[in-house]
């Protein structure tokens, strides 16, 4: 199967059309084997097995090793051939030298896919490279789809399959992530989990002996769970094919790329890391830009963009309305908008008059809408909706509502502590109220986005335990609350870029 792919790529067709890699048996398996399963804390065979079991995988799990009889309460098989019934995917963690023989066994058993965790292949030099060619040939001969070697694992959240060494388990969601660095990838998945960003798949592509980023893109193109795709790449490989595929996929789902090895220092580091020299970054970036593919410079930005792109409607233009409780935050947000090429248009008299009903005479009466610290719970919502209603605005940034809750809690706590006459009921009521208001506010923002098809980006102005993305049951969009205005503005600016790309393609944002 992959041979055909390789042939096509060298012909460098503008629009590649080959068979999509058969990754479903790996990403949505009925049965998995862990070859090299172990009870030794911290060994790969233990990390992977306990993660799959603890993550609640609902298919069959077959630990394989020659010594144990039971692991995690499951029977252990001495050899792959001893496993009763078919095996969709085998996770292999045994030392490199034993891998060829094990792959032959997998082939005879009819295993469809292998995730080869084991390292000691092309990344360690020419001997390893020879071994890597050997195992790739074995897989091709047996029609085994190979991820890795030297991968730190995969996640398929909708299949409840968490097969990485990092025991973090993000909620299912629309963001697919392919990473050439397993370590960086796993850590980013952990950040995603901490921020409430839903992940559909994570694939650590490792040495990419058989499948590379372009192949994974093609697979994710047709997987409905993946709504946006993040790539971390050091080695572009066949750049022409990658860009051709990415260009096509990017018209259906945003593709966001972080290229490691952009500079001489980064390139030197990447060379020692993956054994391959990255291409010229400027050319790469120009090509991406032409293809509408978003490039970012830092891992955290990948996540910031993922949160926005997977949770918000795409804005149709660059005109931003800003709602703030305090003037200073409005100023820095307006500055950030202008510096990122976004406009902050002045508002019509109609909106001023509507808000005059709620606010003291010295409110800003312009965009940013500075609600001068109002404690009215209705007006922050009215202000957002008035802006969304107006056809002079494409997106709203709303500052400080969610963050205020934490500050109210601090105040309630110290009032409890020092005021012996304070009404306990009143304080309880206030705490309950702010919590409930937060929920209502998130749900209202999600409804407003659905109704007006314009994004509302929240800024919490404080670090909260609730994460960046707040999903609302049964809704297409989610509340998004970044900690800082500059993050919200950057994400919005990149969404505007993407919207312009779609428009240039005659493919307006939906």
């Amino acid at each position: 199967m992959k041979t055909e792919l390789k042939i096509n790529t060298t012909e460098a067709k503008q629009e590649f059309e080959g068979p999509v890699p058969e990754l479903n048996p790996i990403m949505y398996p009925q049965s998995v084997a862990v070859i090299g399963a172990s009870s030794a804390f911290g060994k790969w065979g233990q990390l992977i097995l306990t993660n799959i079991v603890a993550g609640g995988f609902e298919g069959k799990i077959f630990p394989v090793n020659p010594k144990d009889t039971s692991l995690c309460g499951l029977p252990v098989y001495k050899r792959i051939s001893d496993i009763p019934g078919p095996v969709d995917v085998a996770f292999i963690t045994i030392p490199a030298g034993g891998v060829p023989a094990i792959l032959e066994e997998c082939g005879r058993k009819g295993v469809k896919g292998v995730v080869l965790i084991t390292s000691g292949f092309s990344e360690i030099g020419s001997d390893g490279a020879a071994l890597e060619r050997e195992i790739t040939e074995i897989c091709k001969r047996w029609n085994i789809v190979l991820i890795g070697p030297n991968t730190m694992g995969i996640i398929s959240s909708y299949a409840k399959l968490f097969a990485t060494g990092t025991h973090t388990r993000p909620r299912p969601g629309g963001v697919a992530f392919v990473s050439q660095s397993g370590n960086l990838g796993n850590q980013l998945v952990h950040w995603a989990s901490q921020q409430g960003i839903g992940i559909s798949q994570f694939i650590g592509s490792g040495n990419e002996a058989m499948l590379g980023c372009a192949d994974y893109l093609e697979y994710l193109e047709q997987d409905e769970n993946a709504r946006i795709i993040m790539l971390y790449m050091e080695n572009v490989g066949d750049g022409r094919r990658l860009l051709s595929v990415a260009r096509r996929v990017n018209q259906k789902k945003p593709v966001i790329v972080l290229k490691g090895g952009r500079t001489s220092a980064g390139k030197a580091a990447a060379a020692s890391h993956t054994g391959s020299m990255g291409g010229e970054f400027l050319i790469f970036r120009a090509a991406c830009s032409q293809a509408g593919i978003l490039n970012v410079d830092a891992p955290a930005e990948l996540l910031d963009l993922s949160a926005g792109f997977s949770s918000l409607p795409i804005p149709k233009g660059d005109r931003v309305g800003i709602v703030t409780l305090g003037g200073g935050w409005g100023v820095v947000t307006a500055d950030a908008c202008n510096e990122n090429g976004l406009r902050v248009p002045d508002i019509p008299e109609r909106i001023v008059e509507r808000l005059n009903k709620y606010l003291p005479p010295f409110w800003s009466k312009r965009n940013p809408l500075d609600l001068v610290g109002t404690r009215d719970t209705e007006v922050p919502i009215v202000a957002v909706e008035e802006l969304l209603k107006w056809d002079g605005i494409d997106a709203v940034i709303s500052l400080g509502i969610i963050g205020r809750t934490e500050l109210v809690r601090l105040l309630v706590n110290s009032t409890r502590g020092v005021d012996p006459t304070a009404s306990v009921e009143l304080l309880d009521e206030i705490e309950g109220f702010v919590e409930k208001y937060e929920e209502t506010y998130v749900a209202t923002m999600v409804d407003l986005m659905e109704h007006y098809q314009k994004p509302v980006i929240g800024v919490s102005l404080t670090r909260t335990d609730r994460g960046t993305v707040r999903a609302v049951d049964g809704k297409r969009y989610s509340g998004v609350f970044y900690q800082t205005p500059e993050t919200a503005v950057n994400v919005l600016a990149r969404m505007v870029d993407y919207s312009r790309f779609l428009n240039r393609q005659g493919n307006p944002s939906s």
Copy 2:
């Protein structure tokens, strides 16, 4: 006192030398009055009083209002003149119209300083401006030092005086912060507190009727608790004097400025917020740059820099050593270094040979030092020290040691959950070990910084509950662990800028 200051400023002397504002009675008072004190939850008179009491202020606290007899367990005085004994500082929260009469009372009582929380002065228009002139005259006549009006309060951590509406109480430390926006300022103080950044003073300067940023800089210049100074400004005022003072102060303590109203949108917002148009930003920035004053674009960056400048030795050059557990993070960090003008020099054979003793043959053997996921607890420390020892390196960025602890905990938890044969003692021991190792690691980094006088900047690669700055008892430096490499690199690059400025001044970093 302030009259003289004003006259001097209009003469625009290059090096201003006037009397330093007498802020000690406000920042280190023996007794405070809260005029307008209240038990009504959320009113300013309640916010300020409960915060001062709950914050543990050890001097005398006198609530003043005509109605109550007791608040927070303290006797309430009907009039200021009823207070027994002297009052260093009065916090005033009553409506604007009553302020002139109250200030006269304060004057007769001999109150030395007033923090005027009340709004409704120049920020609301010409009537308010007239009232502001009136109250400023009253204060001058009585020799009262006035902060505000329209300020959201002050903090003086070493005096245990927390007198803001936001009940966040950062630990005492070296960072002083003056903000023209109270709302933005208070929120940043809260971030500082969440990140473990020690604050010496916070001053919300409000409308600056009497004292402006230049005055506060002069005060903080001579206050030993303030080791670095952050400014948030929208209105520069007398730019020549400000820059002259800032230039002088910046040679003793770094001054970091965030200017709001840089763009037309931000300027419009700032105008409506403070009633004054900001100067031309490009001129301002060029002047700052000439004076070695660090300019930042975002509030979060103020804090990032504060953490670094207050906790780490200043680097003497731009050569960075990088230590990483995983290659990908080394690549993105090296890229970020090069893109921020920092060098990542290759290491001498001596260091390679030293680390060969600890690591498998396929470790990177270059800078970044990729320790290829080693679980050896000694080698990450050895690697940092070897780099610090070498005179080819000015600073070290160390990635992932602190963050790994959280990932180990996740693994321990799922092992507990799914492996019935796992040794409970072993798992407890592992958890205890990683926790203890983290403490040891932080303490060792602090000792190494003291010994070699070079900064070691940590990157946690995960969001931890422990904050960015980890102080070690009795030590001059603290451990600093940013979540992302790009933050660490940016801070280091700005520290290198500052170091170069000091060198140009013939004032090498200490």
